[in-house]
Symmetry: C2
Subunit: 256 residues, 2 copies
């Protein structure tokens, strides 16, 4: 019995293969065609596990690109998948903060990964990975470099006043032109994202386990900024970026 979970996000497609014991993880940039990328990844995964497509008993998909994947056996909402995946990665988790390439979510999780409540922003680029990639571009950096670039506690963040991605980009260009330390600017941008996300999840207080998921969870500086903003521990897991696909795989397992 082998199943697959696919999270077709706006920025990356994530794939998890599960046989009841072992799990395999793959991801690739979404590019122009989520369907094509997903096929490539599935082929790669089947080769690496030396299994054939027929061995996959159930494929469950989530993410905004799931509508373009006709071979899925089931599709499940992102909130349900992320919640399930997070509860697997961090047993007892009570709050999930998921920051993806183009959205951000806060999910209150109950027993067995059940969704108690959630908030989501997919309308405004501020507080999402997109904000960070626009700013990385303005700074001539790759978005994957930002976390390390900012440096640690010794850098005091440059306050970024504009919340809007467009206005903040102009502000950052102005700061660069004025010769402001780029490390301080990047640290300020991390705080801007943390502030925005903290405002979004303000009604989810408490102090239970909090797991940070989604592609942006790879940025350790954002995790630290979130801890400061929320005044509670923020955990990540090496598989945090795969939480949605993992949840989809667990749901596929139940269905198979």
């Amino acid at each position: 019995n082998i199943v697959a979970g696919i999270d077709a996000g706006s920025t990356a497609v994530k794939l998890v293969i599960f046989d009841g014991q072992q799990m395999g993880f793959w991801q690739q940039p979404t590019g122009w065609s989520p369907a094509e990328v997903t096929h490539q990844m599935l082929d790669q995964a089947l080769r690496e596990w030396t299994i054939s497509r027929g061995d996959l008993r159930h494929i469950c998909g989530t993410g905004y690109g799931r509508v373009n994947l006709p071979f899925l056996n089931t599709t499940v909402t992102e909130i349900a998948c992320h919640s399930r995946g997070a509860a697997y990665l961090r047993p007892g988790v009570e709050l999930v903060i998921d920051i993806g390439g183009q959205d951000a979510k806060g999910i209150q999780v109950g027993p067995k990964g059940r969704v108690l409540d959630f908030v989501m922003n997919d309308k405004c680029a501020a507080g999402t990975g997109r904000f960070l990639s626009v700013m990385a571009h303005a700074l001539g950096l790759d978005v994957s470099e930002l976390g390390a670039y900012a440096g640690g506690e010794e850098v005091s963040p440059q306050p970024i006043n504009a919340m809007c991605t467009v206005f903040a980009e102009s502000e950052v260009i102005g700061l660069i032109n004025r010769g402001v330390d780029r490390k301080a600017i990047v640290a300020g941008l991390h705080h801007s994202v943390a502030r925005r996300v903290a405002a979004m999840i303000a009604r989810f207080d408490g102090d239970g386990p909090l797991l940070f998921t989604g592609g942006v969870s790879r940025n350790e500086a954002i995790r630290v900024a979130l801890e400061k903003e929320l005044k509670r521990p923020v955990e990540v897991n090496e598989h945090s970026p795969y939480a949605g696909a993992l949840g989809a795989a667990l749901i596929a397992w139940e269905k198979a």
Copy 2:
């Protein structure tokens, strides 16, 4: 007796000179230094009117850049100036929609240009001139070309789903790549701005005279889109972009 009103906006500085009968109008792009630009315009205005700086009895300033203009005799809020200016341009005006380079305002105007109520967006680039300039750039056009480019009623607007400037820009680039008619895209963008502004002023219903002001009022296609969205006549005046500076000049006249 000669007075001046200055509206130091984010995108352009506007100057109005008033001697109780005649009015002169000047404007220039703000660039990096509103103060320098304002000095140049004042010098030019004084030359054209063959008067000297000492002849200006009172200078009243408004706009976000007014804090950088130390030679102002008084400063007045934008809302008050726009309301006064609009009531002068359109006697009996009841609602003003002002769309500037980086903000948008709705002002309910009472007798003598008094402000009854207002709403303002200066936090989000959507529904402001900035949205249009980002999109013009993506289309390889100058923002001043957009209005004429869209064509008239015969073009059916391409719906733009994203409200966010950042996401809408990606959407527009995708539409261009798919070969969608650029005129239809531009028409869709005009409707997007009108929809956003209409949502902002939704609580100001009524059917009295409505004047469209601010730099974006030069775009006739947006005026038409606003009429469709609001289902009421939307007027412009050739001096609509100067409403704020004009209001400032009228206030200066009272003070002098």
